[in-house]
Amino acid sequence: MQQSKIVEISNVSFGYDPAVPVLREVSLDIPRGSVVGIMGQSGCGKTTLLRIIAAAYLPTRGTARVLGTSTRELDRDALYAMRRKMGMLFQFGALFTDMSVYENVAFPLREHAMLPEDLINDLVMMKLHAVGLRGAAYLMPTELSGGMARRVALARSIALDPQLILYDEPFTGLDPISFGVIVRLIRSLNDSLGATSIIVTHDVQEALGVVDYVYFMAAGRVIAQGRPDAIRASEEPFVNQFVNGRRDGPVPFHYPAPAYDADLELAAA
């Protein structure tokens, strides 16, 4: 693994509402060529962090350097130039429902590269072959299962051979077979494209099998990091609760609430 950093997040804080910070002083590095997982509970800020990396949001404080430039210094053209080197897989694929599978994969090629039609055809077929769906090229997105849609979206996000692939909850709602397919694809595409992948997920057990390195987040901070084995063996109470899926622990089962008696109006009786 090369040691140059493709993403460097230093002391980043961010809040949609300045009074409610979502990220607090987050620092992390993503080495080129690796598959890195960012894990944590829903609402811990991991998707927000992904959006900071994608430069959809700018940090309130701190800097995010992605592909060598600080996202704060990008104007619209530079931002779009950077995003051409990135691919992003959305939670439910976000395929364009008015286009066929073929046209979905061809979309970034048509928008960004002035290529002759037969070359586009070859590229689309290669990408679809890589995810095993060449035979589904002329189906519409509504005719696909959830797992297939996710794979088509993956083919689309690698259409321009990105250096950095971002996955937003890629495992949500998949059956075990589709799930295994996606896990293997993430690894094989990363290695064959020579790309770097960042996976944001709360499916910890599954994701630990595919990643090289893990950042664990809670309440807007990175609370643990390490290789998957170290995370599995972690004694940190939160990580331990999370990895093992225990009901109670540092994260209480109950959302903060007034006393149970009061809500049932037992006191008034």
Binding site: R83, F107, E111
Partner: protein, 279 residues
């Protein structure tokens, strides 16, 4: 007494009143803010219309969806409106012995008012609502974010073609509506009631002025087209990304567009057809 009787104490009433006033003020400032946002949105859209005009194929596809697919409702409605105009117009005109003027009445009503206004209302409910729902759903299913992440500006690629498709379709639809209405008026007035065909057409030809009537009608329909397309794309783009949000945005498009058409029609009519332009 129940604890709720506290509500009626004077200081509670003041607080209650203040809360209501704050809500009212909040609504007003929010609406003004939203209008400003919509204007900036339109400005951005116009600045980034290059793609829609350069790759005109994209806009042609939207002209098909907004315009061609609205043809049936526009043509059928036009026919019926023209037929009713002829029936009602004949009823009144024949009392004064001027039933040959039926052609003028039908043509002027349609070209000046009913064509642009009714076609605009139908366009808003048929095409405007569809545009809002489509853009809103694309937003709710993250298709617009996905485009943004592929370094494609969704306003240039998705919104602008729909806007221009609507703007181009609307005057054409209004013209077809008027033409169909005049044909409907002819069917009822001449074929059914028996008004003289020569009088019907020649009086119409003599009385309808290209600049004062037809051009003004086209200008009206163009203005309505801009208004409806603007409202439709903005509501879609601004819709909260939920099922309820999209459904509300769709309703708002139809309501706001209809009111905008009627209000703009009053203003445009006041500017165009008053002040003794000889008619």
């Amino acid at each position: 007494m129940t604890p709720t009787s506290n509500w009626r104490q004077p200081e509670m009433r003041v607080a209650d009143l203040r809360a209501r006033l704050e809500r009212l003020g909040g609504t007003v400032t929010f609406q003004i803010w939203r209008l400003g946002f919509a204007s900036r949105f339109l400005g951005y859209l116009l600045l980034h219309s290059g793609t829609a005009l350069r790759r005109f194929r994209l806009t042609v596809a939207e002209i098909y969806f907004a315009g061609v697919l609205s043809l049936v409702i526009i043509l059928v409605s036009g026919l019926f409106v023209g037929m009713v105009l002829a029936l009602q117009g004949y009823e009144t005109l024949q009392r004064y012995g001027s039933s040959e003027a039926l052609g003028i009445l039908v043509a002027l009503s349609l070209v000046r008012e009913l064509g642009p206004v009714v076609a605009g209302l139908l366009f808003a409910s048929r095409a405007g609502s569809a545009i809002t729902a489509e853009i809103g759903l694309m937003k709710a299913t993250e298709q617009l974010s996905a485009m943004e992440m592929m370094a494609v500006d969704p306003i240039a690629r998705v919104v602008a073609p729909r806007f221009w498709g609507g703007v181009i379709s609307m005057p054409l639809l209004a013209a077809l509506f008027s033409a169909m209405g005049i044909f409907g008026g002819y069917l009822v007035g001449v074929e059914l009631i028996g008004v003289d065909a020569g009088a019907f057409w020649s009086q119409m030809q003599a009385a309808v002025d290209v600049r004062n009537d037809i051009l003004n009608g086209v200008i009206k329909s163009l203005v309505f087209g801009v208004a409806v397309a603007w409202i439709a794309v903005f509501e879609g783009y601004d819709a909260p990304p939920t099922a309820e949000g999209v459904s509300r945005a769709t309703t708002r498009t139809v309501v706001t567009s209809s009111l905008a058409i009627l209000a703009l029609d009053f203003i445009l009519t006041a500017l165009m057809f008053t002040g003794g332009n000889g008619k």
